[in-house]
Amino acid sequence: MRLEYFELVDKIEELNLAEGRILALGNVPAASPVFEGHFPGHPLVPGVLFVEFMAQTSGWLLLGRLNFERMAFLASVKEAKMRNFVQPNTPLLAEARIEHEGSGYGITNCKVTKHDGTPVADATITLRIMPFPSSEFSDAMRARARKVGFTIPA
């Protein structure tokens, strides 16, 4: 994870596009400016970053199902619960499953856990599906996808 850059998914561990399921790894770094403020002397990952981790994981799943032809943007977060604290230098797993794919939007059920299965956070995420606003953005997403281990269709 590069918290300051909002790059929260390090690697896609499992992906089943047909079943609509993804498992992504994000390693919370040992140090980050985020921890200087949250909190001084007691560093904890902000809960909002768990939400973002779930949203990005869901986004990769939808992008895959869309064959990278359109982009998924976070639209709403429901029933978000932060269940445990997370300190620096902790690997996290985010799992997302498709709940519903509508016309122009997708809904996923997501959870974040530690490697030992300890629950960290969960939520239902709605993503709005829209055309890429530019080819540069599309190219950047494809490049990022390759970095996290996504096999891009030709």
Binding site: A75, S76, G102, S103, G104, Y105, T126
Partner: protein
């Protein structure tokens, strides 16, 4: 058994916290009830689930943007209910 309109009206009332008595077949979801596109996603999800269909929101939006249809054709609730009935019938055909 509730009519399609009643089901849709109940979904809107619950999703958007609008008093049920304010929602009539003549209500325009956007102009009269003030439902925005984000809230309409929640309504669409609930309608999709309730009727086992997929509201073609993207197609409708494109038709309105291209001037091929008016918002009244899709978002006045009696018309929306009629479209839902059509989608349900097409699914069963």
């Amino acid at each position: 058994m509730a009519s399609t309109f009643d089901t849709v009206a109940n979904i809107i009332a619950e999703t958007c916290d609008i008093p049920r008595e304010q929602i009539t077949p003549e209500s325009h979801a956007i102009d009269d009830l003030g439902i925005d596109s984000l809230d309409f996603l929640d309504i669409a999800f609930a309608i999709d689930k309730a009727f086992g269909i997929k509201l073609p929101l993207e197609q409708w939006t494109a038709e309105v943007n291209e001037g091929k249809a008016t918002t009244e054709q899709y978002f006045v609730l009696k018309n929306l209910a009629e479209r839902i009935d059509g989608l349900v019938a097409a699914k069963g055909a």
